[in-house]
Symmetry: C2
Subunit: 238 residues, 2 copies
């Protein structure tokens, strides 16, 4: 634990997925006082919210903020509307498509992360936290615009101009320590920190079990399989 962050407050965006759950453990491990914030935004994946509650409890947080906001009524995404969650399967092709055609998948929820960060910004300002941790990742991801470093820079600039803290010359910094992690790096970090991975929920779809075929399930499982294979290999070579 790093003493420098002890008793410092950190807001953490906690969806209950693998990345944000690992992030919450990571931030706690740095010594921060955790203030997780989770959103019921009308997502199909209701299990995600349950997962966020479980992870919050496993971290022993005192104050876990839940905010309800009906993005379903705005629509425009397979995660919130009647549009089916695509079961892509073919990840390598998909990643190529993203980089070639700048094709944003239908699981993109318009401006969702902008909205979440804005609300987290309000919360950070009220509880006087200087930092908001955000589990964005732009390596093994679905190609969402609001997971890129330029987006985070732009949000940090906005936070400076749009808050009382900014006027007073203080800052509320958005930090995304996993931005350039591969999904394998995240899985390894989760294992190092003792994250109860089985309690996290990454699937985009509804249902009692992960579908195993959406982007998010596939990216997650591939990384877990690879890390497991490495661990087996290391044991073998010892």
């Amino acid at each position: 634990m790093l003493e420098v962050f002890e008793n410092k407050k950190a807001v953490v965006l906690l969806s209950g997925g693998l990345d944000s759950s690992t992030l919450a453990y990571y931030v706690k491990n740095m010594g921060y006082d955790l203030y997780p914030i989770s959103f019921d935004y009308g997502q199909k994946s209701r299990r995600e919210l349950d997962a966020s509650i479980k992870i919050g409890r496993s971290l022993g947080v005192k104050d876990h903020k839940f905010i309800k906001i009906d993005l379903k009524s705005i629509g425009g995404s397979a995660l919130t509307s009647d549009i089916d969650v695509p079961k892509t399967g073919d990840l390598d092709n998909k990643r190529q498509e993203i980089s070639d055609k700048k094709d944003i998948p239908i699981t993109y929820v318009p401006a969702r992360n902008t909205i979440f960060l804005s609300i987290a910004l309000a919360y950070a300002e009220v509880i006087d936290a200087d930092v908001i941790f955000y589990g964005a990742n732009c390596i093994d991801y679905s190609g969402y615009p609001d997971c890129r470093p330029e987006f985070i820079d732009a949000f940090n600039n906005l936070a400076k101009w749009g808050t009382k803290k900014g006027v007073e010359g203080k800052t509320i910094e958005i930090e995304a320590p996993f931005l350039f992690y591969t999904k394998k790096d995240i899985v390894k970090t989760a294992l190092d920190l003792g994250v109860p991975i089985e309690e996290t929920w990454s699937c985009y779809d509804d249902g009692d079990e992960p579908c195993g075929r959406c982007d998010s399930c596939i990216i997650r499982q591939k990384a877990i399989d690879e890390v497991n294979a490495e661990i087996r290999n290391e044991k073998k070579n010892r």
Copy 2:
């Protein structure tokens, strides 16, 4: 009516106050198809929402979006919490204070306009509107950080990076045509455009009648009185 904007969609942030109501009339007068969005964010001033409905109807809008978001649970402002709305009375002193001490009043709702613009951004992206109109004003105002030109520039930059439209090289522009208007200019515009000023609601407090003593009531009434005096004067001199 300007043909250039005909059949173009515009999202308009409509609180039901004088500024945003005048803005909605102004945007309609430009020829745009209006898509107002209003927020029930737990504000004390419940009459504000009623006013937004009345103004929406008076404009004959087809689709008025209402979004509920509980900023009361985040708190930190006299507009949402148990903190009393200050009854300042002395406006000129107040304005000097703002510019001297960078003192943001307790009626500032942390990151509120960032949150509203973010949700409006999602809505604009889904309905394929290129523009969001926002009634910010930095002349006769309470000194809020999220009503300044730098804030709007920062949000425009964020909108570019955080949306699918931005990735595709298109834009969703935030426009604040009243940014440098005095409140008198806004009142005059309202009169020119036939805005039913009596239906708008500017008071920060709850209650069936405007309190007449909060910043918002005072700034509004002073401008209306001045414009009325000018009109009387003009009639006299004719």
